[in-house]
Amino acid sequence: MNHRQTRRAAVAAALLAGCALSSAAMAQDWPAGPVHIFVGFPAGSSPDTIARLVAEPLAEALGKPVVVENRPGAGGVIAVQQMLARGGDSFSININGPLTTAQRLIPDLGYDPATDIAPVGLIATSPLVLAVGADFPADDLAGFIDAAAEPEAISYGSVGEGSGAHLTAELFADAAGVQLFHIPFQSYAEVTTSILGGEIDSGFMAPSAALPQVEAGKMKMLGVTSAEPFAQVPDVPVIAGIAGLPDDFRAELWNAFIAPAATDPAVIERLNTELNTILADDKVRERLLAMGWQAQPGTPEDLAQRITDDTALWGGVIDTVQATQ
């Protein structure tokens, strides 16, 4: 998409939103200075790499520097707080946690994802895979569920209480009608070590964390939590619809571009357009996939819907987990 079309889209969006003409004029001149993108994880982490992947072409398109600012902490929450506190042209590229589950898990969050955040667009999604050690007795999902028939007989590792891996496992256990035994770790690296060492039976893991072990014949992947087969691990069956699990079973982690709620709608529209242009680039899609992420272009409304859906989904799981504790 060329520059004129971008501008037209921005103008159209501003008019549609019923904004005054001055707002449209502002969006044309925007940005006046550098744009800041807050990332809630340290340099080199996958959210950071994704942010840098987006920031560079974005700077080119906007004609102003785009600065990636790492503010690691509290599972991405610090970055959202910093974005809101800093004002100006501050945005954030963040994972789903701070927008969907943080309000349930952190009492003093300092912001409300529903009212303080304006979605710009989804960037990429990643499913989790159910991985077990190579010597696990079952080779498929039905066998796994059979093995887990006795409550707490099968243990699984997650990357922390309330993490995506923990909630996904509980969502799965609930849907499959089994009770798994939760053992929290701090990273997929620790979960991998523990599965290889035979201390725990299984784990819901990022595909890229399990893949090297699977290729070496040390682990098996029994299912993937996305709605469709995932390009990085195309042979792993989708969990939804097999072994008696519901057809609409889906659990995905995602990275998204967000803005403070007070941001000019024309600016959001402009950013969304640029973001989708970047995500249409094959090179960017390939780089994302190599890290285990599937590019997901879409509108701000799509992201808003995603936030609403996932807040409800994970909220339900958190209710169940907290009730049993």
Binding site: V67, E69, A85, R86, G87, G88
Partner: protein, 149 residues
């Protein structure tokens, strides 16, 4: 000096800290079971342990002469103020003004009085910060007042 006041004082402080930690953790956090230990188990145990060790430090110190070591009050206050000023002013004033202010405060307790050398030092350090952190490392910092809200 009839008693080892340092050990006595610290023993009491550590013992009270330990009790406070154990008490707070006991009230606020779940102890759990041996199988699934709660978040309270460790802090309560450690708090009690610290209380015991504090007592072990304090009690022998009562009957033992101690050394008297001067506590550098003015220096402590100046250094702490300097750090607090840096931490609280950085976002508002930007790194250059904050640095200048901090150096002026910190150097106030130097044994050599006088404003002349302190102003010189202030300029030198501020220039160094600009050179190393702003230009060299390109660190993400507010440079001037109002750069960050």
């Amino acid at each position: 000096m009839r008693r080892d006041l340092y050990d006595l004082g610290w023993g009491v402080i550590l013992a009270l800290t330990g009790l406070a930690v154990a008490g707070y953790a006991w009230v606020s956090y779940d102890m759990g079971s041996l199988r699934r230990m709660g978040p309270g188990f460790f802090p309560v145990t450690l708090g009690l342990l610290l209380a015991g060790l504090g007592a072990l430090i304090a009690i022998p110190a009562m009957g033992r002469p101690g050394q008297r070591r001067p506590f550098a009050w003015p220096e402590t206050i100046a250094v702490v103020t300097a750090l607090l000023v840096f931490g609280l002013a950085l976002d508002g004033l930007g790194v250059l003004l904050t640095t200048a202010l901090t150096v002026l405060i910190a150097s106030a307790v130097a044994p050599r009085r006088g404003l002349g050398w302190r102003l010189g030092l202030t300029i030198a350090v501020t220039a160094l910060v600009w050179l190393v952190f702003v230009q060299g490392l390109n660190m993400s910092l507010p440079v001037w007042p109002g750069a960050w809200r």
